[in-house]
């Protein structure tokens, strides 16, 4: 009986390994395909009709960074732009999110519930028209076509995504605050000296999500940047590489560019995975 139980477990484990293995292959295969084709040497545009390239080369990556044959494609600059925007908007977003979620979680004030409800539904308005409005508002401020505008756009709504972070703060015992208050600490000191040091997972989670945003948006950024190509981000840049004018010549470089964008984010993600999981579960379950 015991033996058969053990055997059964072995079989079921083997089965699970098999299923997981197959799934992992399915999940990873497209990226391997992307990577291999970014190294494709035949210069064929969209597809060469083969599963795997016949020859490999780094030329696509070299072209991508040297930008030969085009007056607009300047991938290194776009990469730098995106990095700068991502850094700044990630700082501002993180501050906003933490400030809002801390207020809603730990402080008690009159408008709290109302503000929470408003904040929750505001993010649900599917508005592409708001983008053109944002463009003109930024234009009044003289910021259109400017990287600062992008930083503002990506971090302005951050405060609305407070739920997960608030859920996390909710799990920190209030007794800590009370003890600190008795010792004469102000709310400000409690925030900085007690709550923040305990919130590493949620801070990392917030930083990560905020950092990734600028790398992926291609609609709003395009509206704001217009024809100022030197201020493009990689997302618009990559879109530009597969538009009608460039598709036949730049598709290979588009693949290479995609890899260049994906690799650092993936590495960052893998390194921070532990905190990300911690943040999303602690906050997500409650929020």
């Amino acid at each position: 009986m015991i033996k058969s139980y053990k055997l059964r477990r072995h079989i079921s484990n083997a089965l699970i390994y098999l299923i997981l293995g197959v799934m992992c292959i399915i999940w990873i295969a497209p990226f391997v395909y992307l990577l291999l084709h970014s190294l494709r040497a035949d210069g064929a545009a969209v597809s060469n009709g083969e599963l795997l390239p016949e020859w490999y080369t780094f030329q696509n990556y070299i072209d991508l960074f040297s930008g030969t044959g085009s007056s607009t494609l300047n991938f290194p600059k776009w990469f730098l732009n995106t990095f700068i925007v991502a850094c700044f908007s990630c700082v501002i977003s993180t501050i906003s999110v933490l400030a809002v979620s801390y207020s809603f979680s730990r402080l008690r004030f009159g408008m709290r519930k109302k503000l929470m409800n408003i904040a929750m539904i505001l993010g649900m308005f599917p508005g592409f028209m708001t983008m053109i409005a944002m463009y003109y508002l930024l234009k009044i401020m003289g910021l259109d076509g400017n990287l600062i505008a992008l930083v503002l756009c990506y971090s302005c709504g951050a405060g609305l995504g407070f739920q997960i972070s608030k859920g996390f703060f909710d799990t920190i015992p209030r007794a800590l605050d009370e003890a600190a208050t008795i010792d004469g600490a102000t709310k400000n000191q409690i925030f900085w000296k007690i709550i923040l040091p305990m919130s590493k997972p949620i801070v990392v989670y917030t930083v990560l999500t905020a950092f990734i945003g600028p790398w992926t948006d291609f609609i709003l950024a395009k509206i704001i940047m217009g024809d100022i190509q030197e201020n493009y981000t990689v997302a618009i840049g990559l879109q530009l590489m597969i538009d009608l004018d460039h598709k036949t010549t730049w598709f290979q470089e588009f693949l290479a560019g995609s890899v260049v964008v994906a690799v650092p984010i993936t590495l960052l993600f893998l390194k921070m995975q532990k905190y990300y999981v911690g943040g999303v579960t602690a906050g997500g379950v409650k929020g």
Binding site: V46, D227, H246, T248
Partner: protein
């Protein structure tokens, strides 16, 4: 004070001369247009210099510290920059602050212009199908009256007529080539094969290679309907609904069935793919022919080298008749932003950039087929330009096209190409066609 007055006077003198050409001044001279025409005639060596018969510096009026932005597609930026330098050199007495040439994909030109005209270019290139959008948004300046008659005299008729609304011309014709034609590998398809659709497909099939046409894309698939006689003719009176010429529905259905039949018979040879795959296919030897546009000409030429062949679209056998394939055909224009601070400079620059010499240069380096008749003669030996020019005789102008047109025509093509489609089913073809028309006309 005296100096100012002198300038004004000088300006007025030239002005009368030019106003004369426009016919608006009720003027007596026709010399303006003649001299401009003969002026361009003397230059055929391709160098875009400007001689004495061009508008002289006084035309700039009191505009000084001129700061202009020009939009050109990425591939043309280098050349346009050179042409602009030439322009500045010619008008050395005019004070230019800066003329900036920026890359702007033509497919998005109107969208970006309309988004915020104040931040758009002062002078910009765009394809003809965006003309009505730009007109509706009132971002195009009418062409200066003094230039109109010269433009009419020197350019092919269709592009000029298409850019006219009422008495005013709204854009400077730049090319007469924005269309697609047949490209082929001349070791597989002979020039004789290329005359008929059946011949092209048969040759490809024999060699075991593909023929590529993006049948799911309305831009190409409208050919099926046009060949059957269902041509479009601008808008109805409401300015938004697509108008068709009177056509014989039976002929349309028969023609559509003939196309579907070919797709079926040559299944595996006739493939509907993105045109970007054509040059790739030429390179790896999988594709022997395709329907591709002028914008990919250089890529296809590079891929095929000596084997490159180009011709107008072939004919198709419907019943006993060989019908010429009729395509959608557009032009490129250069427009002047209505909000530009330097209206005169922008107009003169646009006039210069669409002049004979600039057009010839672009035809030689970029392969853009000129709208200027003399420039056309200068480059007419080029096989692509020949093919395109021949196709332009069998084409519907790509202007005043409803937003619904593209996806609906795309549906037509993709339905016919589908595996389950029965090319002999007349009733189904008829009902598909009726549905497509209803959708285009938004009924």
């Amino acid at each position: 004070m005296k100096k100012v007055l002198a300038i004004i006077l000088a300006g007025m003198v030239t002005a009368t001369a030019f106003a004369g050409c426009g016919g608006s001044g009720g003027g007596s001279t026709a010399s303006g247009s003649e001299s401009a025409a003969s002026g361009s005639e003397s230059k055929a060596d391709g160098g875009a210099t400007i001689d004495a018969n061009w508008p002289d510096a006084s035309m700039f009026g009191d505009e000084t510290d001129i700061d202009l932005k020009v939009w050109a597609p990425d591939a043309a930026v280098e050349l346009v920059k050179k042409q602009v330098e030439e322009f500045k050199k010619h008008y050395s007495e005019v004070k230019f602050k800066n003329i900036e040439v920026r890359a702007q994909g033509e497919s998005d030109a109107a969208t970006n212009m309309i988004k915020d005209p104040e931040k758009g270019a002062d002078v910009f290139g765009f394809p003809s199908d965006q003309l009505d959008k730009l007109l509706a948004a009132q971002v195009l300046s009418p062409v200066a009256k003094g230039f109109v008659s010269t433009i009419e005299a020197n350019n092919a008729e269709k592009p000029v007529v298409a850019a006219k609304e009422g008495d005013s011309l709204y854009a400077y014709p730049e090319t007469n080539d924005n269309g697609y034609y047949l490209v082929y590998d001349n070791t597989v398809v002979t020039a004789d094969d290329a005359k008929t659709f059946e011949g092209v497909l048969e040759a490809c099939k024999k060699a075991g290679k593909q023929f590529v046409m993006d049948a799911g894309n309305g831009f190409y698939s409208c050919t099926f309907a046009f060949t059957g006689g269902a041509l479009i003719d601008g808008f109805e009176a409401d300015g938004a609904t697509q108008k068709f010429v009177d056509y014989n529905e039976d002929t349309v259905v028969k023609t559509l069935m003939a196309f579907a039949k070919l797709m079926k018979t040559y299944k595996g040879t006739f493939t509907s793919q993105d045109v970007a795959n054509i040059s790739a296919g030429f390179k790896n030897g999988k594709v022997a022919a395709g329907v591709d546009g002028t914008w990919d000409s250089n890529g296809n030429k590079d891929a095929l080298g000596d084997k490159f062949g180009a011709a107008k679209l072939p004919t198709i056998k419907v019943g006993n008749e060989d019908k010429q394939l009729i395509s959608l055909f557009g032009y490129k224009y250069i427009g002047v932003n209505a909000r530009t601070k330097f209206q005169r400079s922008a107009q003169i620059l646009a006039y210069y950039l669409t002049g004979q010499d600039c057009q010839t240069q672009r035809a030689e380096t970029l392969g853009w087929g000129p709208s200027n008749t003399k420039a056309m003669e200068a480059v007419s030996s080029d096989p692509i330009i020949q093919a395109v020019s021949a196709q332009s005789q069998n084409a519907v102008p790509q202007v005043k096209i409803a937003g619904t047109f593209w996806t609906s025509m795309g549906t037509l093509g993709s339905e016919m190409y589908k595996d389950g489609w029965n090319p002999d089913d007349e009733a189904a073809t008829k009902s598909l066609w009726e549905k497509v028309v209803a959708q285009i006309r938004d009924e």
